[in-house]
Amino acid sequence: MSGVSGLINNSLTGLQVAQQALQVTGNNIANVNTPGYSQENIIQSTTTPSFLGGQFYGNGTQITDVQRVYSSFLQGQVWSASAGSSGASTLSQGLQQILGVLSSGSVSTQVQQFFSGVAQVAANPSDTPSRQSLLGDAQTLSSTFQSLGQQLNNIGQGINQQMQQSVSSINQLSSQIAGLNQQIANSAGLGNGTPNDLLDQRDQLLTQLNAQVGVQVVRQNSTQINVFLSNGQALVAGSTAFSLKTQASPYNQQNLDVAYVGAQGSADITKNLTGGILGGLLQLRNQSLQPAENGLGLLADGIAAQINGQQAQGLNLQGTSGSAIFQTGGVQIFANSGNSSSGATIQGTITNIGNLTGSDYILTKGASGSWQLDNASTGALVATTSGSTSSGVTTLNFASKGFQLQVSGGSVAEGDRFLVEPTRLGATGMQTIMTDPSQIAAASLYVGSPGTITSGGLVNNNLGTMTLSAGQFVSGSSAGAVQVSGVGYPLPNLQLQFASGASSGSASFTISNNNGSTLASGSVALGSSGTAIDIAYPNDPPGGYYQMVLSGTLVGKGDSFTLSPGGAGSNGNAQAMAALATQGIFSSGTANANQQAAQLLSQVTTQANQAQNNAQAQASVLSQAQSAQQSYSGVNLDQEAANLILYQQAYQAAAKAISVGNTLFQSLIQAL
């Protein structure tokens, strides 16, 4: 074509291209706020020229491509930053929750208040209001622990729920991505163009998927992508999506784990998930929440064990041994759901608070009756033992970790595993079980007074200078001590008597009960540091001895001491209980209750600080990646406005050219 019709035809292509360009610009403007949308440009080129009369004449213009402005590198950065940022912010938010529970729960204040109550009883051991108020303090302490433990537990349940939501989002996203893969493959055959909007949508879904869990995106060819989890398992392979599911943990059915549903059944992949909300939740649960629960439980267990232990060493107002004030949740043990034997029962007891840590353990039955204990989080071998068996009960003593386990009621198959959580329930299960304030054991077991009880009064006719010290609890009898056993509650008065006088060498004595029968006899070297009198506790715990020391330099014939049970005014045991406030009972005796509480809190605070900083850093990485990507692919309205003017003018010019063609044509017609 040539001449006027060439003009009109060429202008027409210009008109069409300008129209289409305006359409693309309009689309850009319309999608200015569409998440994941990449601005589109037209690629304009000339059409094939005509060769006429030795010359090439242009045949107008055409659009060869509608292209999205896209960088796979920048998009990839957004994906990985998105996984990092949402994981870090999930962790940080969760830690803020844990920190909020622990720091506002004021465990330290309640611990202090409780020991201040004990000090008050120590100062007024027979005063009922003081005892009553101590029980009130104990109640507040245990309910504080219980409520904090419960709140931490609630956070754990919240994590389970969020995991379910996250897994269901992941499944939805991966099936959408697989669907888009299919659509994109289908539309790829339709011409030269690329389905930009579908690609954008798929990229956006991948951003969302990365926010849920960290994945790797591998481009299979120009149109298809495959998505892999960080352990290499495929979530999306072409148009096929694979799903994840939450399932109860093999040990604790209350906790959810994540499993990959493959062709050969499902496999637990909880440990392999990182990044995204799901990765953040799992990290929060394993590295922050469970240690915090265990730490709080350890604190509760420690206080309860020490106070109850001290109670057992003293006498209450009824003259019998003090019963326990607190009860805690005890050692929690779960059998693996895959165990092949199920008959045996395993029970745990805490034996030494000082050695107890906040760790959880996996107990595995090995070959030939041996048992192996591994740290549950690190997997490190802790101990192997074959235990000691008596009357069908096998006792596995892990003294270095502060607890022991008792296996009874059947045999355990080799390879069976159990999860042992020594302190997990310490706080949630803490209760004050004492209700009667007179049960508080403030008094010492025995008080030694010179003289004998004669017609209701203490009559002292001792000629010598022997003294009997105030007593204290000892767990084992020392060498050379005189042991008195066989006394029971209510405790009888004991009579210590020297048969003959002495001023040098040693003097022998007998200890008899109130019926006059001799319970023990011994001798004391005069002028020495003395002889220990160890009275065996009738009750176990504490199971040790109450030790008093007899010493002096001069004995008269018939000199005697009366050992009477501590009365209402004796504060020996209450005072020892009050001293527990400042005594190191945790971490091999290096930390007292207040220090332990502070340590727990500062551990969580440090984690929260790290998570907070990390979340901020990751957020700014994400924001930079997004702004780099946006700056490349995003729509700029000013640019579109300029394009509008550009294409509008092109359109107007082309129209004018047609009009000129028309005029030329008219002139030609009129000339005929």
């Binding site: 007024n124 008269g556 009050a578 400042t582 929260a608 924001s623």
Partner: protein, 430 residues
Amino acid sequence: MRVSTQQIFQTGLSGMLQQQNALNQLSQQLSTGNALSNPADNPTAYSQSLNLGARIANLQSYQQSNQYAQQGLQLSTSSLQSVSTLMNQVQQLAVQMNNATVNSSDLQNAVTAMQGNLQQLVQLANTQDGNGQYIYGGSTTTQQPFALQGNGEVLYQGDSSQQTLQIGPSLNMGVSQAGNQVFMNIPGGNGTFSVTPASGNYGAGSGTVTLGPGSVSNQNAANNAFVAQGTEYQVSISANASGALTYSVSSGTASAGGSLTSSGVVGSGVYTPGQSINIPGPNGSPMASVQAQGLPADGQTQSFALAASKPQSLFQTFSDLIQAFQNGSGSPGANAKRAQGISNVLQNLSQAQTQILSVQAQIGSNLQEAQSVSSLNSSLTTQYQTTQSSLSDISYPQVITQFQESSTALQAAQKAFVQVQGLSLFNYIS
């Protein structure tokens, strides 16, 4: 660099959100005064503040026990002060009555006064604290530890238990005194032996010999003889019909009945009134001496038993004095008997005073220690609290300045946002 429209919007928005967050945190700090309202912002300061809190809690626990300790010690001090005053009065009365010119109505009055004193002493020994607990009962604090019997004897129904409180790291302080240590277990006589006149010494027409409390020159030998061996000595002072004076010391082992079963003379000589008579030990060398006063009647022997001293209660000493006053007056024998009784009582009173003074001294030094520990602890507490507040309290000028900066920045961000959003080419296309 090319900037997308969304980016302009996002940047402006996130800037404003950040400033708002900062303002929110600062206003929270201003309203609470606490710089650590979000502990995760400054874990080091927070954990330091927690550790300081734990130390302050320890100190407060000591301070609380310290306060109880001081209360207990002060109550004991004031009641023991009254006991001392009472003992001084009794001592004066005893000295006053140790006089040949005292008549029977004087003695009667003295007996009445002493009976009152005894009751007052029992009352003091049954002192109760603010909670109605008896402070001198050992572990028996809910019932009266000292019971005055019809026969004038006082029963101690408590024990030797002493309350202790921990007022510092491994600092256990006794805060109460068992009643038997204060009132009952007072060394009798001179602490080694006590002197008892024979019952027939002061009959009608008898002489006036009295024996002082004696002193020990060789403590080891005396302890061995009196306490370990249970040896008793009898000092007899005799005048023959013509008035020649002799003394003899015999030793033996006391039988259940109190008389010496095997007696042997271990010393003798001519007696001069006012003379110190040596008591020889088992090896013959002197271990103690007693001073004798007065003269026996012609043909009379006045003898005294020396035995290891038993603990003597203050109540018993008071009763002994009443007994001595009831011995009457007039005859030289009665006066001598009274004098012997009063001499023994004065000796026991002096032992009691020593005992109570030493208890008071112990309480005083405990009190002083408690006070100094308390003031040390409270200044440590203040120091810790100052450090803690420097960690956790905000500096108002600083935070207010930051608040104003943030608020200015927020306003600027808002203004910039509005202006940038207004800049659009579309405004100019008509």
